[in-house]
Every structure is written in C-alpha cells, then in structure tokens.
C-alpha cells in the first residue's frame, strides 16, 4: 500500500487538522510511530504479544455448509472473533499499547461505539498498567451495557457522553477534548483507521496483521488467491486490516467494503458514507473524508442496528481506494443483517457480530454467482455475544423478554437470588 503524503493525505483525503494545543503531541506521535514502524523488533514484539496474549494467528475457517448452501464460491471466514476480547479491535489496542509504553505515557483514553474498542482498550490498559478513561455516547452506553460493565470491572472509567446525538462521533469529540486537556501523560487510543494522521496509517498498520495472515492461509488452503474479500466498514479498520493482504494484487482480488444500510439508503436512516448520496467531502474530527452531513456541513444523525458501524465518517484511506476504484463499496440493511446472522449461526455454528454480519450479507449475495473453484474470504471482525441484547430484541425472542422482566422484578423487589 502506498504511504500517505508527508502531511498525512491519501489523495484528497486524510490530513491532520488538529487544534494547536495538540500539534506537538501529534508531531511526537508521528515521529514515535515512524520510528516504531521502521523498527523490525517492534513489529516482532507486537506479533509475539498477539500470539501469547490473544490467539494470533486467528484461524481461517472453511464454511463448508454455507458454501454448499449457496452453491458458488468457496466461502472462507477469517476469525477475528477469536481474538481476546472478541474482535479485531484487540490488534489495534495492543499495538498502540506497545507504542504508549515506548513513548513513556501512563494514561490512555478512548472513544467507543459498540463498546468493543472500549473493552479492548480497558483490557490493554489493565495489561500494561495504564490509567484508562473511555468515552461512550450515552445512547451506546444504553445499548451496549454489558460492555460498559466489563470496562468498569477491568478498571476503566467509563464516561457517558451526553452531548450531541450521544453516539460514537460525540464520544470522539469528547475524547479529543480530554486529550487537549491532558496531553502530557495521556495517549488517545483511537479505535479505527480514521482521525488525524498518523492514526489512519497507524491503526491500519496494526490491523494489517489480519491480511498478512489471511493471505498466507488462503494460499495454504486454497492454493490460489481469493476472488473477493469482504469486510464491514465502520471507521474502516478491520477492512483496511484484511484488504492490505491483497491490495497489491490489483484486479486479481476484488475488495468489497460493506457499510451500514440501516433502514435502507433511501430512508436516510443509515450510515453509508461511500455508497449513498447523503455523504459529501468534509473535514471533521481532524481529517478529511466523506461525511454524512447536510449542506451547511453539520453532521447528520446516522443509524445502524450495529453500534460499531454507526459513524458519520470513514477511513480516508478507504475514501481514496474508493476514488481509485480499488475497493468496491456496498451496503447491507438491518433486516438483511439479521437474516445473514441467523443463517450463519444455524449453518456453521458461528456467531458473527452485527457489524461483521454486514460483510456476510454481501458475500451471500455474490457467492452463488461465482465459480465453484473460486474462493472468497469474509472478515468476521468480531463475535456476536456482545450483541445479545440487540439481537434478542431484533429477533423478538419471547423467552429473553420474559427473562429480562423476571430479572428486573427480582431487582425491584430487592430479593436476593
């Protein structure tokens, strides 16, 4: 993959639009990151830690039943769900954790949407002994309470952000505000391949471990490159992670990013930045990309069944790869996502996160049309356990409902269980 320009741009996108107070921090961060990136020992330490603390390399699972079901390309699933803390987010936070150690800082802050990045950061902070504050939109706090619980138990302070629309973008803003105030000892562990340079490059670099492994694995099992690779796109980190294994293969491997189609692109209630007409070029949160914004430049409210894709911006690197037509972008609706999730559970005994299920939707649409001797890879960015409240709700599960009502009743009556 081509590196960004000196000032952090990828084509028209990216850059580093940070308030003055953060200028020096970013300068140091850029230098420290560049030094780390150039140091083969750093990557080696990273890979080693990921293989002892998390379980890298994560497997590439052949989905035999889904393959048979769709009767087309062989479907392989890259199992980021098996990472410690249950998602690809672990790769990024552990990488940044090592960088923080190298920089000698002692406190980390993070924003989180789905909560996965927050749990991952809290976990990393516990492991490295850093103090940790996680900002989370109040809406997300409500829909991802289990993750909030774990973050707190892991020793992090979770701050519900009550400003703005109280979701991921507001948490990001709040995290920046914290950083502006506490630059000296604090590193902001950005959770996806967005934000001011060097974050898009840095997060993508740590996540590239996915693609490096996947490439090796598919060549091992399938003996040739996959026809297509699918990944869901929130901020874009898991997509960048796996795509990097195949970016240089040009037209041989088609790369497909799947955005949150929410209630459907035509309803306006979605989070599709690269394949809807509701987005336009903009600059917010420190970088230029396609944003879901109105004509004045005010960011819009987004919608997705999956908190992790519910975000106004998208990685500048992906926006650039979209310009270059190297990555194709599609969207999946909430309804399609629940269907794909159901099918994957029943056919393979695998529970993808709602975010990841977006990638499954598009792969399922296309697999039947591909030759039987071809292969496709779906990046399963995380596991669906965390989504139990959302999924049980979406599936209208009556016994879950009853269960919750009973639990509540016991609490309300103050009974001891």
């Amino acid at each position: 993959m081509n590196p960004p320009t000196e000032d952090g741009h990828y084509g028209r996108w990216g850059g580093s639009y940070v308030p003055e107070v953060l200028h020096d921090t970013f300068k140091r961060l850029k230098e420290d990151f560049a030094a780390a990136k150039a140091d083969p020992d750093f990557w080696r330490e990273y890979v080693e830690l990921m293989s002892t603390y998390s379980c890298r390399p994560t497997p590439l699972t052949f989905a035999e039943n889904l393959t048979r079901h769709f009767g087309g390309a062989k479907i392989y699933i890259k199992r980021e769900d098996l990472n410690h803390t249950g998602a690809h987010k672990a790769n990024n936070v552990i990488g940044q954790g090592l960088l923080v150690k190298r920089m000698g800082k002692t406190r980390v802050i993070a924003e989180t949407g789905a909560g996965q990045h927050g749990v991952a950061t809290a976990t990393m902070a516990a492991k490295f002994g850093f103090e940790c504050t996680v900002y989370m939109g109040e809406v997300d706090v409500l829909r991802q309470r289990p993750n909030v619980f774990w973050m707190e138990k892991l020793g992090a302070k979770v701050v519900p952000v009550t400003d703005g629309s109280r979701i991921l973008k507001d948490a990001i803003n709040e995290a920046f505000r914290d950083w502006v105030t506490n630059v000296d000892d604090t590193h902001y562990v950005l959770g996806t391949a967005c934000g001011p340079a060097p974050f898009p490059e840095m997060v993508s670099w740590f996540q590239s471990i996915i693609g490096i492994e996947a490439r090796k694995q598919i060549l091992h099992y399938h003996h040739t490159l996959p026809a297509r690779v699918y990944a869901c796109v929130g901020g874009g980190s898991n997509a960048m992670g796996i795509f990097q294994g195949f970016l240089d293969d040009d037209d041989d491997v088609e790369l497909v990013g799947v955005e949150a189609g929410g209630h459907g692109l035509s309803t306006g209630k979605h989070a599709s930045r690269l394949c809807s007409d509701d987005a336009s070029p903009g600059m917010a949160q420190g970088y230029k990309t396609m944003f879901l914004q109105n004509n004045d430049g005010q960011m819009l409210e987004t919608h997705s069944v999956s908190a992790g894709l519910d975000y106004v911006g998208v990685s500048p690197i992906l926006a650039d790869l979209n310009d270059k037509k190297r990555v194709r972008f599609e969207s999946a609706t909430d309804v399609e996502v629940i269907e794909a999730l159901n099918l994957t559970m029943k056919k393979e005994g695998i529970i993808p996160a709602l975010e990841s299920s977006h990638a499954f939707v598009q792969a399922f649409k296309e697999a039947p049309g591909l030759p039987k001797d071809s292969a496709i890879i779906i990046n399963q960015s995380g596991r669906g356990d965390k989504d139990i409240f959302t999924i049980a709700h979406a599936l209208k599960d009556p016994s879950w409902k009853e269960f919750i009502i009973n639990e509540a009743r016991e609490y309300q009556q103050g009974e001891s269980k």
Binding site: G15, Y17, E20, V21, R177, G282, G286, D296
Partner: protein
Amino acid sequence: MERIYHQRGPRISAGGKQMKLEENLRRRRENKEILLMTHLVLGYPDFDTNREVIAQMVENGVDSIELQIPFSEPVADGPVILKASQESIDHGTKVSECISFAKEMVEKWDIPFLFMTYYNIVFKYGEEAFFKKCAEIGITGVIVPDIPPEMGESFYQFAEQDGISPVLIFAPTSSDERMEITGKCSRGFVYCVPRKGVTGTKSEFGEELTQYLARCRKHTSLPLGVGFGIQSRADVEALIGKADIAIIGSKTIKLVDEKGAASVGPFIRHLLGEK
C-alpha cells in the same frame, strides 16, 4: 451610569477597504490598558437574544466580538459552547442566517466582528466564497481552530486575498519553532491559550502565565489575546501589561442562560473595572 460606546458612526477605513483587524485593534489599544473581546454562539438561544446581548456588550465597552457559527462537532470547545452550538443547530440555525445576522451587526455597530467556527463550515461553504462573503459583509477576521497552517494553504491564501484576518493560536505546548510558524501565519492578533484544555476551563493566572505570555510576545509582533477562563475583573487585571486583549468566552453564555441578556452589560462594566 449610562454610557454609549461605538454607536453607528463613520467607519474607520483604510485605503478604500475596511480597516484591517490588526490596525483597528492597535488604534483601540492606544488609549486603553487592555481590550475586551467577547463571544457568543449565533442562534443561541435565538438571534433576538444575540442582538440584545451584542447591544449590551458594545454599549458597555467591548472592543470586538467573536460570532461563533455553530458546528455539530466543536472539538475545541467545552460543554457550555458545545451545548449552545448543538441547541442552535437543533432548532434550525443555518449558516446563511448567521451570515445575514453578522452583516446586520457589522452595519449597526462600529467594532470589529470576527467569525469563530470550525473548518468544515468554511470547507462546505467553499473557502473562496466564504472569505468573499466575509469581506462583503464586513467581517474582519476569523478564528478557525482546526485548520493549522500546514493544512490550510488555500484557506490562508483566500483569506489574505480578501483581506480577512485569520487568527491563529498559540498554546503552552507550542514549541518556539511552532510559534514562529503560526505567528507568521496569523493576522489581526494571536489567540494565546493560557493552558491546555478546552474553552470554559478555569485558568490560573500565575507566574507560569507571565512567562508563557512573554514567550508568546517573543514570537510575534501582533497583539496578544488571551482567552479561556476569564471570569472577573481580577482576571482581566492580571493580564494588563502582559497581553493586549482579554477574551471572554463561555462565561457570558452562562450568564445569559441564568440571568438573561440584560445582565451582560453590568458584567462587562465589572470586567472593565467600572463601578
């Protein structure tokens, strides 16, 4: 005590163009120990209140006002301005209305008005169009905290072209080299952030601030404005001799929220040391 400052009168202009911000501030500074700059969020709580507040400010002696065009993601602002911005947008404030309102104020009051906003508002409007519009309506400067010099080549060019002063920021974390760069790029004055943090955070005005402002002074010949956290006459006095402009941010917003627009005048007089 009732006094009338700066009521509509003949414009101070230079060379056919409206007088540049720096020059205007320097003239004002000639017979004052320190200038007072205030701030408000356009459309919050509504434009009528803005009108009243501005009248209170100008009539009581404020030298310049920042008009903040609200943006949905004001990363450099604290909770008060954040909330005000959000509410303003929520009840429908448009950029075009902010511009019309600014035009009206410039026409009415003889002090320099600046736009404060975030880069995306300018970017979406079109950098060239935005500065043309500023010039057209008589806005003299802009404060856009998220467009650093190295990212803003065209931004700063268009500003220069239309004679609008982009005010840049010095922070305690800025190195000497950095101050050199931002100082060169800034026009009108330099906004010195006295401590890390966002707007609305209380500062300590001690020895450290004195040293910091001295360092700022070394890197620019422009007037120095100091913002973030000024709440009382004592705070303003502490800046005399060290800075040229005391900038009041979220404090007046809180004041209007709690006690209404009419309370702004007495507050301004208090800051000016008048009984």
